[in-house]
Symmetry: C2
Subunit: 187 residues, 2 copies
């Protein structure tokens, strides 16, 4: 592959990540090409259609993330700590794209399998955190994963932003917690 071709390909992927993050999966191909500083023809040379471009980004993202998550899980620290590491590592990734695959996509795509593996790993870690007593146990591990997705998938999320802080604090196994409606509340 020629040097300029490789360079352009990388630019396109970068611009596409930004566009998909900001505008969702319907971001226009023309705009992506423009942001990448290449012609629309160049974009279509590298990726035969929109789906191929999305697939490239999604598969690459979730593949790296799965690798990182496994590395975190192998460390000799608490499972709660592992969850925090994962969240910290995930925010800013273009995870919102994965929603285009979520529920049993028709196509035989690598992305689906990777997502499943990731979710299974997360659920396992969450279960461990519950056994440690760090994570509240009145919520199923799978639901914990979904809540953390809310934190991680928002565009522009940061590891220390308010939503992350509040949700993680809400997930901790502290005493004195209750559910709506508000019979238990102060006042």
């Amino acid at each position: 592959m020629r040097a300029d071709a490789r360079r352009n390909r990388a630019r396109i992927v970068g611009a596409a990540i930004e566009a998909f993050t900001e505008q969702g999966p319907t971001a226009s191909m023309e705009e992506i090409a423009r942001a990448a500083g290449v012609g629309i023809g160049t974009l279509y040379r590298h990726f035969p259609d929109r789906r191929a471009l999305m697939e490239e980004i999604a598969a690459d993202t979730v593949r790296r993330l799965l690798e990182a998550a496994r590395e975190f899980a192998a460390r000799p620290v608490s499972r709660w700590q592992v969850l925090l590491l994962i969240v910290e590592h995930s925010v800013g990734l273009p995870l919102a794209l994965l929603k285009s695959w979520s529920p049993a996509e028709d196509e035989r795509s690598e992305v689906c399998g990777l997502i499943s593996a990731l979710n299974a790993l997360y659920a396992e870690i969450a279960e461990g955190a519950q056994r440690e007593g760090a994570l509240r146990t009145d919520i199923a591990p799978q639901e914990v994963v979904e809540l953390l997705s809310v934190v991680m998938c928002r565009p522009g999320a940061r590891p220390d932003d308010t939503l992350a802080t509040v949700i993680l604090d809400g997930l901790r196994a502290d005493p004195g917690r209750g559910r709506l409606p508000a019979a238990d509340a102060a006042g």
Copy 2:
């Protein structure tokens, strides 16, 4: 107004709320008409364009909500309790529609003013809850409002669902809270 016209109008509004809630503000007018059991011509007779339909729904929704919120705020209970009442009352409302107006919309619309009034009221209540000691004080009242919006605006939200529980618990002023990164965590 003829009886069938009024009936059809109500059906259209109902179908539009559902469609906008499920598919966002780009839901197709044809589909709304079909779901309402009327022809597309009937829809456009009642609402000259998509914007008019959205405006009708949004203004009506937020007007009622503002009224309810003021009623809650007038009760002799804690401000935290008032927040819970508002959240409880809000989930299920088509609040996601309001995002189409949020940041200083160009048009001179009733919706913008109503949203501002609602936000101001919420911030005031949140501030009161902080003074009570029920709501954590390391978050600005305005940010509290934004977090609660996350709970209230999700399609299909329920007052006792997991995200609501966790965020509200995370907002409580309990001791032992901390922020990411995870230096403080157990383990």
